[in-house]
């Protein structure tokens, strides 16, 4: 947190959004799909960052919130025949409700126990997906049919399978969540969250109900992750159990650590970095994960606070 003028912070974020918009006209079509996927997953990372970066709670169960949005939206279309807007809202609501329940239970713990409890809940969620395979498609997953992934506005319609529409839809979601995150971080509530991260007992001693504030953070975080999952199902047309596996709980942690925890743009930078390192290195060798690992070690050594976190610490203290 810093004393940066709001104008400078908002200008930077609007600049990033404008850059992503401009890239859609410059980049080849292959990158449209990749960047749309990155933006949706960056939303997932932003949701994770809300809890990990700003409150200091390390969860290993956020895949369940992403999965709740993914399955909530996907199954609403596949099984219930809902339209895109309702399915999206349904997915988000599933994530929000799940986050509320998980928050009420998991926030009775802290530290390592919180990490384990969230991971266990996520495993239960993952196993439930496999158990109800008749509905969810189990480990095979299900394809969301292309004709159902169309947004109708009276006479006109938007086909979410169209690469340009998909890119722009992902950009709209990313932009909204980014600006909401910036507003939260700069708000009084955001400052209280940072105070909790710094010293929860002291925050309580100033008269703040830290449990309620943390619960709210879990719900907001889970809702954002669910929005990302719902968007993923609608834009990329696939719901699968792998998205609810523990790997998808660790990935946002990595993205946030790489980009910079408790920075608003760090999740995007971390997601872009990981995706492109994997994309580029996998073209040269099948042992690309080794190169990714070395890149991660170098980053941790030279940028211990993540890319943007280190930049903020060393040069640009005003970065939100």
């Amino acid at each position: 947190m810093n004393e940066a003028s709001p104008a400078r912070a908002y200008a930077l974020h609007l600049g990033v959004i404008a850059l992503l918009f401009a890239l859609s006209f410059v980049l080849p079509e292959y990158y449209h799909g990749l960047l749309a996927r990155i933006m949706v997953l960056a939303v997932f990372a932003m949701g994770y960052n809300m809890l990990f970066g700003y409150v200091g709670l390390l969860s290993l169960g956020h895949a369940m919130f992403f999965g709740a949005g993914l399955y909530g939206a996907g199954l609403a279309i596949i099984q219930l025949g809902w339209g895109v807007p309702l399915a999206f809202l349904g997915g988000v609501a599933c994530g929000a409700l799940l986050a509320l329940v998980i928050g009420l239970l998991a926030l009775r713990t802290t530290g390592v126990a919180f990490m384990i409890v969230t991971m266990m809940f996520a495993q239960v969620f993952y196993l439930l997906i496999l158990y109800f395979a008749a509905w969810t498609g189990g480990d095979q997953g299900q394809v969301v049919p292309q004709p159902a992934r169309v947004l109708n506005f009276g006479a006109t319609s938007l086909d979410l399978t169209n690469p340009t529409v998909r890119y722009m839809t992902a950009l709209v979601l990313f932009s909204l969540v980014l600006l909401v995150m910036l507003a939260i971080v700069r708000s009084r509530y955001g400052r209280v969250l940072v105070a909790i991260r710094e010293n929860e007992e002291r925050t309580k001693m100033l008269g703040y109900d830290t449990f309620s504030n943390k619960l709210m953070a879990v719900v907001v975080s889970g809702t954002i992750c669910a929005a990302s999952g719902a968007a993923y199902a609608l834009l990329f047309g696939y719901v699968g159990s792998s998205f609810a596996s523990v790997q998808y709980s660790i990935l946002p942690l990595l993205w946030v650590l790489l980009g910079g925890a408790a920075t608003t743009l760090g999740p995007l930078i971390g997601t872009v970095f990981m995706y492109y390192v994997i994309d580029v290195t996998s073209g040269y060798t099948s042992a690309y994960l080794l190169i990714v690992g070395i890149a991660l070690i170098l980053l941790v050594l030279f940028f211990p606070k993540g890319i943007l976190g280190s930049i903020r610490q060393r040069w640009l203290g005003w970065l939100p």
Binding site: M1, E3, V192, E198, L206, G207
Partner: protein
Amino acid sequence: MIETGKAEAKKTDALRIAGLDCFYGEVQVLYGLDLVLYKGEVLCLFGRNGAGKTTTLKAIMGLVPSSAGSIKLAGQELTGLPAHEVPKAGVAYVPQGRRLFAEMTVAENIEIGLMARGKGKAVRENVLDLFPLLRQRLKQRSGTLSGGEQQMLAMARALCLEPQVLLLDEPTEGLMPSMIAKIRETVSKLREMHVSTILVEQRVDAVLSVADRVSFIENGRNRETVDVEELRADPSAVRRYVGVG
């Protein structure tokens, strides 16, 4: 408890503790502790390490649960309140070791204090008037302040709550003499502002210079409470309970 302080009957209670028992797990730390803080006075808790001074402050704040007894703030029962409700009732606590929000600036630390009870600019100015040094450091990260400045900021943040009762746990610990003098000066000013203060202190000179009364805590009990004038005249109690002086 032996109350030898003068004119007890004429004074109004700011905080009254009666028969307080507290445990850390299975271990009892406070044994039927009785303590009275009068409005506008500085009461010093004095005693050896492990006597129960800090536990008393934590019990008042609801950080250590009590199994028996009562803690009343101007008649309002505090025992059983969630810890975050105690500051709202009017008690502020500056713990040992300051515990600032190190990543935040001085201004942000103060703002967090102000926000807690919806206090505005006027309170901020009053608090900064008490600690003029902090005005020059508003944009500095609090973790980079000196020990004395950190103590001032911790007190300033607590005073943003405009408390009726202020609890200070060893505020001069590890500070250089000039800073100790400033902290003492501030405590004296707070008395003039009618803030009732409980001060945990290990330094005899500090106790004698700022306190109105002194309670000697030993083995989780308040053994004796005396006026500081009496203590100056006859410091034998200090020798008796702490082994110095």
